[in-house]
Amino acid sequence: MTHYIPITDADRQEMLKAIGVERIEDLFVDVPASHRFPPLDLPPPLSEPELMAELNRLSELNAHARRYSIFLGAGAYNHFVPAAVDQILRRGEFYTAYTPYQPEISQGTLQAIFEYQSLICALTGMEIANASHYDGATALAESAIMALNVVRNRRKIVVARSVNPQYRAVLRTYLQGLDVEIVGDETPGSSLADALALVDDQTALLIVQNPDFLGRLHDLRGLGAQVQARGALLAVHFDPIALGLFQTPAEAGADIATGEGQPLGLGLAFGGPYLGIFTTRQKYVHKIAGRIVGVTKDVDGRMAYVLTLRAREQDIRRERATSNICTNQGLMALASAVYLSLMGKRGMRMVAEVTYQRAHYAAKRINALPGYRVLADQPFFREFVVQCPRPVAEINAALRAQHIIGGYDLSADEPQLGNAMLLAVTEMNTPAEIDRLVDALAAL
């Protein structure tokens, strides 16, 4: 018995007697005797205060946003998380519930997901959203799987080079068992136009990202029509914060739009759990993977929420399934629903605007430093490429000493850019912090 196990010794005796065995070991006779009760070589158990001390020690071995100024992004962003979000996440009724299989006693989770879907539709302009995927990368991979199901008999996926390289890697992992060709991202520095040029009558999907991995904003109006004219679908991977100000995937004519929900109140969390946002057109509702919540009535006529269109899922179709997704990121979807509700129309615009302005302030100041050059041939949102006078790793090491986490080192992904760093600025980087960064760069 431990503090988590409420069966006492007396209970155990009584229960064993009821079961009709003598000892607890008798319940395990089906396990091959030679493999039964193996020793586990684990550290001795720790008490709660000891554990908390050790966890605190490990935690403080990491740099984090309370002690460091963070100018690193590349897919995870240090945006503001209102305290109210966590107040809701900590409610046992939400976080200790499971998938809402019994709708009568799961209306809380169901309503939250329905509102999440609705908020995401309003944010993206898209017609429908599912209850989420694991993260932005897997949502993007699911867009390819869906496209292959929608556009039958085409086995080519075109993906722009400017899509997050980790996402492109996941896409390749997901599709490696299928007979599919993935092209378009081989050449460093290749453009959206280059990718579009590859869309042909064998192509099921074109995937682009906006703002792209290098932070650049693209005008995608009309792109959907161009792609659809070639019989393919367009998937746009968006940034949910940028949508406070900028062009939606719907305006680009996207058939599918995916996003990483992390900036929507989830925090950095060393990479997860995050939130895969997936949206598409109403007409593809039966092709969408993952869960969806809809509205209906109960027998008394009360409005109620329920998981719907489940015939799509593997628990019914099994081996004909095209997705095995089972768990979604329910709690993260809830967090983002709380975040989006708190922000509202004004808040989303403000966050995007403050982020944009501070990023441009930082870019201007850095560009004025001798030896540094900001690549700004195109509009950008919160991230921009800085060409540096020295290797990025050296610069970051120097910044570290001043409790600044510098930008993403592009030398492996985009070697053609030289000593290039991808810097991210959000509304959490105060003007004073930006000035401190600039001073530190200048002093190098």
């Binding site: 684990l42 158990p45 554990l51 209306q107 879907q117 969390a269 509702v285």
Partner: protein, 490 residues
């Protein structure tokens, strides 16, 4: 007690967040790139309204923290509160996944240790923490199988064997990777039918996916033999870890002959289910398969520090960054707080609890296969003397009126009217006795007042739903007009 959609509280101009002003000289916005619709339909509320709304809807949820949740195959065990504090420590909750390894040593040490613990508990040589959920762990495993065979030039192995009692994700996973699913029959004792297995093994066999204990809650009596047969045929054994809570310290899948398995950290290792996620589906495997695991994994350098690495023949990334890290913190904390003896006590008690429910109910609700069970028991909603139209669904719904979450029903598919009950080790005998008494009470009602069951639930926030309408006339996002039409429709 109803709570309207959050959009109904919206009024122009309200805001629920307190944001900074830019405070810098401004740059004009690129007007041609701005969105045109002014975020139409986006709600506007204040913080008090948002908090009240979500607090109120939360109370319309059943949860472990409010009651017994014997949902079979889901291991709805208690989620320790210490873990919630642990995952919120700033070095875990506010660290950037791409910050330098030198700035992430605490996180890397924790991941490294968790890899080791999971390997030790399951008898595997290598662990990757990357998969985000059990289903993604399965996908990882089947991709690794494929890569392993292909790497040896063995490209003809296109079939995956899956018992008819399996979780739906197993065949779906195989299908996702483009492999063919071959279904295996179960025998009268609930084991895989060995003859059927032998008949279906072939040079086309990539591997077999098996849950052990299986979804009947029974331990595969021939597990060692099964593994031997599959290996002899050149196939690999995939272990679905959904039921791992039954065998911590009882048996190690790696020693039984499995080559690969996933751990559902949100089942066995207490990370919260979160209303359907996030999960965490770490995977373990033999040394032979380790080179194919997804990266990054963590290893220890000679100087005692830690670093990420990607195995040389890796199938690639399963998701961005390093897995659902917050869940890893919770699982690490759980293992460190339980220790070896504690983990064995977990499984012993989980199995004890299930068998206690089994013997106290099986005279009324027949057990699908009459054996000692593991951590869960599959009964059947066939009550002697009850009218035919009393179905398992009715029993489940009636449980709601008595304050219990229903068990899993109609699964596994091979058991008609299945009632799959998993009590877990974190429930007391008092709770089990109340549940047992209630189940017996309901059996009586099924015979005497069956309409009470058909009408159930009557004490939940809502009653039974018109699910057909939800699917036929789908309303999948807030639409005041559609909802108003729904409400006035008969």
């Amino acid at each position: 007690n109803e709570e309207p959609p959050i959009f109904t509280y919206s009024q122009p101009g309200k805001i629920g967040a307190n944001l900074p002003a830019a405070g810098v000289e401004t740059t004009p916005l690129p007007s041609e790139l701005l969105r045109q619709d002014d975020l139409a339909g986006f709600p506007e509320l204040t913080e008090p309204e948002v908090i009240r709304h979500f607090t109120r809807i939360s109370q319309r949820n059943y949860s472990i923290d409010t009651g017994f949740y014997p949902l079979g195959s889901c291991t709805m065990k208690y989620n320790p509160k210490l873990h919630e504090e642990a995952a919120r420590l700033p070095g875990f909750a506010a660290a950037h996944p791409l910050q330098d390894e030198e700035l992430s040593q605490g996180a890397l040490q924790l991941m490294y240790e968790l890899q080791s613990y999971l390997g030790e508990i399951s008898g595997f040589d290598a662990v990757s923490l990357q998969p985000a959920a059990g289903a993604q762990g399965e996908l990882t495993g089947i991709l690794v199988f494929r890569a392993y065979h292909h790497d040896r030039g063995d490209t003809q192995r296109t079939e995956v064997l899956v018992p008819d009692s399996a979780h739906g994700t197993n065949p779906a996973t195989a299908a996702m990777v483009g492999l063919k699913v071959i279904e295996l029959k179960s025998d009268a004792r609930g084991n895989v039918d060995l003859d059927d297995l032998k008949a279906k093994l072939s040079p086309r066999t990539a591997g077999m996916m098996l849950t052990n204990p299986n979804t009947l809650g029974l331990f595969e009596e021939h597990i060692v033999e099964i593994c031997r047969l599959v290996h002899e045929a050149g196939g690999l054994m995939y272990g679905d870890g959904a039921n791992f809570n039954a065998i911590l310290g009882i048996a190690k899948p790696g020693e039984l002959g499995f080559d690969f398995m996933h751990y559902n950290l949100h089942k066995t290792f207490t990370t919260p289910h979160g209303g359907g996620g996030p999960g965490s589906g770490a995977v373990g495997c033999t040394a032979a398969l380790a080179p194919y695991l997804p990266g990054p994994r963590v290893r220890r350098r000679d100087d005692g520090t830690y670093e990420f690495f990607t195995p040389e023949k890796s199938i690639g990334r399963m998701k961005a960054f390093h897995g659902n890290f917050g869940m890893l913190v919770r699982a690490w904390t759980y293992i460190r707080s339980m220790g070896a003896a504690g983990l064995r006590a977990v499984s012993e008690t989980a199995v004890l609890n299930a068998n206690y429910v089994r013997v106290m109910l099986k005279d009324i609700y027949p057990q699908a296969i009459d054996r000692i069970c593991m951590h869960e028991v599959v009964l059947r909603g066939l009550i002697a003397g009850a009218p035919k139209d009393v179905r398992t669904l009715d029993i489940a719904k009636r449980l709601i009126d008595y304050g219990f979450h229903p068990p899993t029903i109609y699964f596994p598919l091979i058991v008609p009217e299945a009632l799959m009950i998993e009590p877990t080790e974190t429930e007391s005998k008092q709770t089990l006795d109340r549940f047992i008494a209630t189940m017996r009470q309901i059996a009586g009602e099924a015979v005497e007042t069956p309409d009470v069951l058909h009408a159930a639930p009557t004490k939940a926030p809502v009653r039974r739903l018109d699910e057909v309408r939800a699917a036929r006339q789908p309303i999948l996002r807030y639409d005041a007009e559609a909802i108003s039409r729904l409400q006035t429709a008969s």
